[in-house]
């Protein structure tokens, strides 16, 4: 491999739909939170909360990750897609299955949830057929490839557990307890989404921030620590352990992301450009959310409810800060770099040097993009505060703000892709030193 291979990327029409459709999941999650009932603080597995969580995780975050894998794999990690048509079919199946699953979960139609789960299993299987060769699974090389390879293994594990849950609901195979639920959630969130976010940040942040620190100090250590903590932690959580064991698991699970966060701060500290632009700002905000989620995660592990009779309030706040805060803000920060970049590669790379071409900043409507991030951060904070305060009204308001953030995200990304005439504001470089 002689360098990056933007010309090896799949066509824009294959990858772009993943990024554009992803915020529809955030819109769905916001809508579900707006309609959550007063049982939301009693248990985190109520219909609307399960629907909101899966809309955000399987819809918004997972579609973004799939887009990143399909794009980064061939263009940066030297892999290839087995079939572009397969990726397109998988996209349609995934969007349909998530939509049906979320709507069925909201009304707790277990049989329909089961049917949608089959669709999801097929979608993820098709995704893996392309994803393994795309990232050149476990072939050594960049740190991002190692993180993504392990994350795909956790995706398989999470899917297996998730399907067994649907079977348990339908056929009573085993009781679904707080412990089994926590094991499943941490396999999926930290194992799949978390490692994907960590791995892609190791690739995307130095790339777009032009950082001088390209050999992360803790990255090679944080991965095995996180892998071990999630594997042992999830299995142990499924046995419904006591608070002492849960706290140990929580601390072990926090260690890897903590080390990764130290690397990320170092990467941003050594960036070549003095201005601290959008992706860097979003990343720092997401690290703040990671810190808050870690604190609440430990408190949830201790298991002392913030209010008697409402044991789910702490867990709900913890989940929102991790999913919407840490992962979600990172995804927003990266998508406003990745989407303009793939549009630029598809439309302007060929023309560069022969005629004036816009730069990434000119492809993006910056006020719109900034409003998206602001709305999202406010929405996450309102929902987390609502959970901690036990206010259903505030929960509905937070859901509405997240819905607005999703709409803003969706339309801003769609604008980048659909806009054909982009004015070039940048002067063509004239006189150089001779």
């Amino acid at each position: 491999m002689t360098g990056l291979r933007p010309r090896e990327s799949p066509p824009l029409g294959v990858v772009a739909p993943f990024f554009v459709a992803a915020p529809l999941g955030l819109i769905g999650a916001g809508w579900m939170l707006m309609h959550s009932g007063d049982d939301s603080f009693l248990a985190v597995n109520t219909g609307t909360l399960v629907a909101a969580t899966h809309a955000a995780v399987l819809g918004w975050l997972t579609l973004s990750i799939m887009g990143v894998i399909y794009q980064l794999g061939p263009a940066v990690l030297g892999g290839r897609l087995v079939s572009v048509r397969l990726a397109q079919a998988q996209f349609v199946l995934h969007v349909a299955s998530v939509s049906v699953f979320v709507l069925a979960a909201a009304d707790w139609h277990i049989q329909i949830m089961g049917t949608a789960a089959v669709g999801l299993v097929i979608s993820f299987s098709l995704f893996l057929v392309n994803a393994f060769p795309a990232i050149r699974w476990f072939r050594g090389g960049p740190l991002a490839r190692w993180y993504m390879s392990v994350a795909l293994v956790f995706l398989v594990a999470t899917g297996g557990v998730g399907v067994s849950f649907v079977g348990a609901l339908e056929h009573g195979w085993f009781p679904i307890t707080q412990g089994t639920l926590a094991g499943h959630v941490h396999l999926g969130l930290l194992g799949f989404i978390g490692l994907m976010v960590m791995g892609s940040s190791y690739q995307l942040l130095p790339m777009f921030q032009v950082a001088h620190s390209t050999h992360p100090k803790f990255g090679p250590v944080a991965l095995p620590i996180t892998l071990t903590a999630i594997t042992l932690g999830a299995i142990t959580l499924m046995t419904n352990p006591g608070p002492e064991v849960r706290v140990v698991i929580a601390l072990a699970m926090i260690l890897g992301p903590g080390l990764w966060a130290a690397d990320i701060v170092n990467i941003l500290r050594t960036r070549s450009r003095r201005t601290f632009e959008f992706q860097g700002q979003a990343t720092m905000i997401s690290l703040g959310f990671l810190g808050l989620a870690a604190v609440l995660g430990i408190m949830a592990a201790i298991g002392q409810p913030v209010a008697p009779g409402e044991p789910a309030r702490l867990q709900l706040a913890y989940g929102v800060l991790a999913i919407g805060g840490w992962f979600g803000v990172t995804v927003i920060g990266n998508s406003f770099k990745v989407v303009p970049f793939i549009v630029w590669n598809a439309r302007y790379l060929e023309k560069a040097g022969t005629q004036p071409v816009p730069l990434l900043a000119e492809l993006v409507n910056e006020p719109w993009r900034n409003a998206t991030l602001l709305l999202h951060v406010v929405g996450v904070l309102v929902v987390a505060s609502a959970a901690l305060a036990g206010s259903l009204l505030l929960l509905h308001v937070g859901g509405f703000v997240l819905l607005l953030a999703g709409l803003s995200d969706f339309s801003a990304l769609l604008f980048i892709i659909l806009r054909r005439e982009v004015p070039v504001r940048r002067p063509v470089p004239g006189v150089f030193q001779r």
Partner: protein, 73 residues
């Protein structure tokens, strides 16, 4: 041979690549272009190869320098 230098340090991608390709478009025959860089421009190499330019990348006084000239036919 005249050497023209552009300073691409502190610029976000793809601006360094765009500036280099634009500068190459106005480079007189026989001249070479020197670009001061923050890092090795991996994405540019394919484009240079495709457009029949040759290059060398190295470090001079702690600064990364990419030197580009027309590839011999």
């Amino acid at each position: 041979m005249v050497s023209t230098t552009i300073d691409n340090r502190g610029l976000h991608p793809p601006e360094p690549m765009v500036r280099i390709l634009e500068a190459l478009g106005t480079l007189p025959p026989g001249d070479e272009l020197r670009a001061l860089m923050d890092r090795e421009p991996m994405m540019l190499y394919r484009e240079l190869e495709r457009r029949a330019w040759q290059w060398r990348f190295g470090e001079e006084d702690g600064i990364f320098v990419l030197t580009i000239s027309r590839a011999p036919k």
